[in-house]
Symmetry: C2
């Protein structure tokens, strides 16, 4: 019998295959696989639904991730997907698989993080499943949000000459992960050492306790802006640009000097990881959970002075793929790395 | 620091604690933790949401469960929860964690089972997450259904003197599991042996390929019946009776000779597991995915001749807990075993 290895296919290949085999029987399934969340008709509004699974040893390492932060982050990654649809999160369900390595106190800390996120983002925990696990901790969360039909923002709506915008700063979560991984190795080599994380607090907290940009989603409503396309940055800017570009049938031009990076991250790179360029961290790092979106030129006036939004480029039907104009004014093609767990993790 | 073991608390204890700590911020979260599914307001209808996680080595054993059947069953267990709310399933999301032990062909077979269930029950696969796993296969599914507000049936609505009803027959899935476990042990002792499953087909298929009783949910609509309380039988009749009784604040009287068991199951017990009583299998076996529900006496006329519904007892405010009248006309107290993974699996 034929055996095809999963890494020959990759994550996007597997998702594409599943998508192609899918039949939608109900007209109220307005959008299925292929965006940050599914969209389901609900009378005068729509519900959006997204889900994520986090597995110990693949997505998190409890030797340096406090379990309370893990609970918080596992909710945030789902809320971020709801934000990326320009919708408001309302409910979550939480499935947890636990081995007997975990005490009740550890589970209390996990749920403390989950409840803190619920309170912060006003989300209701309405259901879930707790079960034993023979291996590590498994967390699978589904989030449900709501919006008016006309508010929903898909990946595929970008138009030629739309402006490409990004919230906050990028690459920090990746640099934080490098710090945590290095400290872990040093600790394993010398268990008496005390981790020195204070001076890297900014990047470490970007990794351990990210936020979803619901503030921006609410501002869109206040300013009467509807992004033409939107996605959250979980896999790195390059991968998300590729999704918006391909879905919208357009190329993207990006300027390196416009990509937002935080001073604290640059300092950490300079002092600790000279070999890493901040642009590479922003493009391929992932887990920043900022929003990448496009707006029409007429909406630009409304947000051009916004302190937390950067305008990094534009959509262009004459461009193939993603072109980056470097600080040295060279134009280079950007490849999206995407998701490499199947190769890395196994 | 204090360490409390999870098995001191048990599944129901853990769920109860989580439920007690939960705050609902949104008035449209009509029902949170504590029933077969959450209920969310959606204009002139409601959405119901349920989720289940299946872990290899805890919930299934791929040495005897064909992976296609596993895909099918993982959808069914969620649809069954939607049925138990008297709602119609519409969408599912599917999260899968895979180790590189699995080939693409195995994943295709898993999804073939998932898609077969989707087609059978007219459910749309609208999203999900695929990720690598360092240990075994992890499947986490969320199902969304729909109903009119007044159609929704909770566990807590049973009234004094309501009739307790159950669909289909019980205990078969448990007996099927015993057969499969035994064949596995025999195979491990002698790998050249061929499993002899033909004569046990009924019980084995009850375990491997259960169905959700959507046919009954549709009949309720046709007959204009709304059960006063309903739950699906996933943990065994005793446990589900306890849920309905406690939630409704009533006791339950059950007659052993009314508990439906199938002839093929009795034959398997007689020939293979003399020590097991059919009543014990029905009460504590679980995984039958039949519906347990209560109806008011005036609705009895509408279904009293139904071939696939058994009337096994009645709700009684004068009774404490669950009383079973045996075939020998003794009355015994029934304890619900509930869920024992934490003790068994680890």
């Amino acid at each position: 019998m034929k055996r095809t290895e999963l890494n020959e296919l990759g994550e996007f290949g597997l998702i594409k295959e599943i998508q192609n085999k899918t039949t939608l029987y109900h007209p109220d399934s307005l959008k299925g696989i292929g965006d940050d969340a599914a969209v389901i008709d609900a009378g005068d509004k729509v519900k959006v639904v997204t889900t994520d699974m986090l597995l110990e040893g693949v997505h998190f390492d409890l030797s340096y991730v406090p379990i309370k932060h893990l609970g918080y982050k596992s909710v945030i990654v789902n809320i971020s997907d709801i934000a990326a649809m320009n919708a408001i999160p309302k409910q979550i369900t939480v499935n947890i698989g636990l081995s007997n390595r975990f005490s009740k106190e550890a589970i209390d800390a996990l749920y403390e993080g989950i409840f803190t996120a619920c309170e912060q983002y006003k989300v209701d925990l309405v259901g879930g499943d707790t079960t034993s696990s023979r291996s590590g901790l498994v967390i699978s969360i589904t989030a449900i949000g709501e919006a008016k039909t006309e508010e929903i923002t898909y990946r595929n709506g970008a138009q030629d000459k739309d402006i490409v915008c990004v919230t906050g700063d990028l690459g920090g979560a990746y640099v934080g992960l490098q710090i945590l991984e290095r400290e872990k190795q040093e600790y394993l080599a010398n268990p008496k050492m005390q981790p020195k994380l204070d001076q890297y607090e900014y990047v470490v907290m970007r990794q351990l306790k990210p936020e979803a940009r619901m503030d921006i989603v609410h501002e869109f409503r206040d300013l009467n802006i509807r992004p033409t396309a939107m996605i959250d940055i979980s896999d790195g800017l390059a991968s998300e640009l590729m999704h918006i570009g391909r879905s919208s049938g357009l190329g993207v031009a990006i300027f390196e000097d416009k990509i937002p990076v935080e001073k604290a991250m640059l300092e950490t790179l300079t002092s600790e990881f000279e070999q890493l360029s901040p642009t590479t961290c922003a493009l391929n790092g992932g887990e920043d959970y900022e929003l990448l979106f496009t707006i029409s030129q007429q909406d630009f006036e409304k947000i051009k002075t916004h302190k937390d939004i950067s305008f990094i480029g534009y959509m262009d039907k004459k461009i193939e793929g993603i072109k980056l104009q470097t600080r040295a004014e060279q134009v280079v093609d950007i490849q999206a790395q995407g998701w490499v767990h199947f190769k890395e993790g196994l």
